[in-house]
Symmetry: C2
Subunit: 363 residues, 2 copies
């Protein structure tokens, strides 16, 4: 790369930092939050509305886009940016999360993972190589390695060590495939490849995994396998444990975390980026965050006559456009999809502002 993928600008005493991620799709200020656009769009929101919340990068889903409409169609139509009308950078997850979330309908082998498509009955196979091909066809700016993510429940936890080893072997295969497929691209036109650290709640495994991933030619280090059912103290202990062990040259991405309180602790311990369905999924159910990381449900009868905005201190489009809590409650009662869209905008802005507060000097 002509530029380093990650330029650190400021670092706090406890390891929190701000900086710039250089992607082929544009510069990204860190720390930042990625809204989830599973199938290319953030549900119910035009991309211009998402961008207006301060979002810089979207996350889309390899598995779902592979199934519908298929990466070949998206490639033919000019890639995911042209297809979805999102002009900023895009990160695609690898399909690895589906290894975990679709546990009942998949079979893991060393070669890759076989999924059963409920809708069509067809068998889908995703391997490290296949995942690279799909993500490159989609045209993502940030590509995630295909990993073997396992849960922390009693039935799964014994599989953690094996999953770590497989994740490492798969990362080597991802690097090889990615390198081969991008070798003819100019340096500044190559997407970034991120590796994923696994290891559950076992410190030794996490150290081993972090060291392995950081030894690979990847621009970013993702922390996978957290926010999958462990307690908050368990997650915090691991984030604190990992904080002094990161390579400063690589960006760090905590996958699947989107509760403000968790993001604050993570940022203060060296995490640069996050994704989560919470702001939009919660929003669609009327759950919003307000100043102080408090939660409200807009469907509540308590708001029936409340003429104020969701949060007087918020500068999101929903709070600034004159929509009262009473009107939003009415829209939720009316099952109008506008309700979820307006609440999603508010929640996305809430997380974007949280990140901005760290970029602008809270560190």
């Amino acid at each position: 790369m002509s530029k380093l993928p990650f330029e650190q600008i400021k670092i706090s005493t406890n390891g929190g930092r701000s900086g710039i991620l250089n992607t082929r799709g544009g510069k990204v200020r860190t720390p930042f939050f990625l809204p989830v656009a599973t199938r290319g769009a953030v549900k119910g929101l035009e991309p211009t509305r998402v961008a207006a919340t301060g979002a810089q990068v979207l996350l889309s889903n390899t598995y779902h886009l592979h199934l519908q409409p298929g990466e070949k169609i998206i490639k033919k139509l000019g890639g995911l940016h042209a297809f979805s009308a999102w002009t900023g950078p895009i990160l695609t997850d690898s399909g690895g999360f589906q290894v975990f979330s679709l546990a009942k309908v998949r079979k893991i082998t060393e070669e890759g993972v076989y999924f059963k498509n409920f809708a069509s009955g067809a068998e889908i196979f995703i391997s490290p190589e296949k995942s690279m091909q799909i993500q490159l066809d989609l045209g993502a700016d940030i590509i995630m390695a295909f990993d073997d993510l396992t849960g922390l429940d009693a039935a799964s936890i014994s599989r953690v060590p094996e999953a770590v080893e497989r994740t490492h072997r798969w990362l080597e295969r991802c690097v090889a495939e990615f390198t081969k497929r991008t070798k003819n691209l100019k340096e500044d036109q190559k997407p970034l490849l991120f590796g994923i650290v696994q290891g559950g709640l076992a410190k030794k495994l996490r150290t081993k995994s972090l060291e392995f991933v950081q030894s690979q030619p990847v621009a970013g280090v993702a922390i996978g396998g957290l926010a999958v059912g462990e307690t908050r103290p368990e997650m915090y202990a691991m984030l604190k444990y990992l904080a002094p062990r990161y390579d400063p040259a690589k960006i760090r991405y905590l996958m699947g975390v989107g509760e403000p309180v968790d993001m604050r602790l993570a940022i203060e311990h060296g995490i640069d980026m996050f994704d989560c369905v919470l702001p939009t999924r919660n929003g669609r159910h009327g759950n919003v965050w307000v100043t102080g990381d408090k939660k409200l449900n807009l469907g509540s009868a308590a708001f029936a006559k409340d003429s104020g905005p969701i949060d007087k201190k918020c500068d999101c489009n929903t709070c600034k456009s004159g929509y009262s809590r009473a009107f939003l409650r009415h829209l939720f009662k009316s099952a109008d999809p506008l309700a979820g869209s307006l609440a999603s905008i508010h929640n996305l802005r809430y997380l974007a502002r949280l990140c901005e507060s760290y970029r602008e000097g809270k560190l």
Copy 2:
């Protein structure tokens, strides 16, 4: 009124015309189409998005807003404009359409109509006086008289003459109640009251009804009881029959019509305004109009690889923002509510442009 409610600017040989409707909420260029915001919002669309389609006036529903959240709450919150964040004029229907559409759960008496609220089991009573009170509490700029609308099926048609007579008696009660309740308002702060012409497909009854309504102190004449199941030739015959019989000083409103082909014929025969759920309801189901009044369904597999906009000649936000037919089809397949919102925007713009073409010289 200091100004005449309706100022005729141009009139064509066959009776089509353009002009200006002066409401307390602002001037409206005619002919125009009212998007339907049943519960205060056009489903899935922010009011700024609706306004950007060229829509000037919204239609909201007295019956539904009376049930939820109730006109008293809306009044307390500053009226329907403040509540819904729509800054243009608002027309409220009277509840009369529900006399027709909720035929199975209502009982008509001379005093008014009793409805059964399925959700709560409660009995709701709407009379001409009650309808005026609700619409004035809501803060509508255009208020519709409460009418007795009946269907044209075999079971209902014998009731047409009786319904016309009752509609006339109820109009007198509406005028009296409206006059009493608005007597302390300055002339330019009074809403406009429109009467409704009934009479089914019977020319004599229609003539009688039109003459009666036009004799009343109303600003507008609405044609009700069409687009309720009759054939297209039957509707057209009635519109042509009525065309030479209108009072030029009153605006004419064809209720419930929103098919482009029907709007064209109606405009060319003297109709000034329309409302209909079609553009938004159709849009939510993927049905869109394109140049030539043709219809497409965006869910069709034929569009899976179509990189073009819905309509190359359209200037709506959806067509101008880079959303391809392929992407829209994908959003419909994904059940993303954004799909319906984007298609609704397109359809609303289609009808607004149709009206603009008549304002700008097609007459």
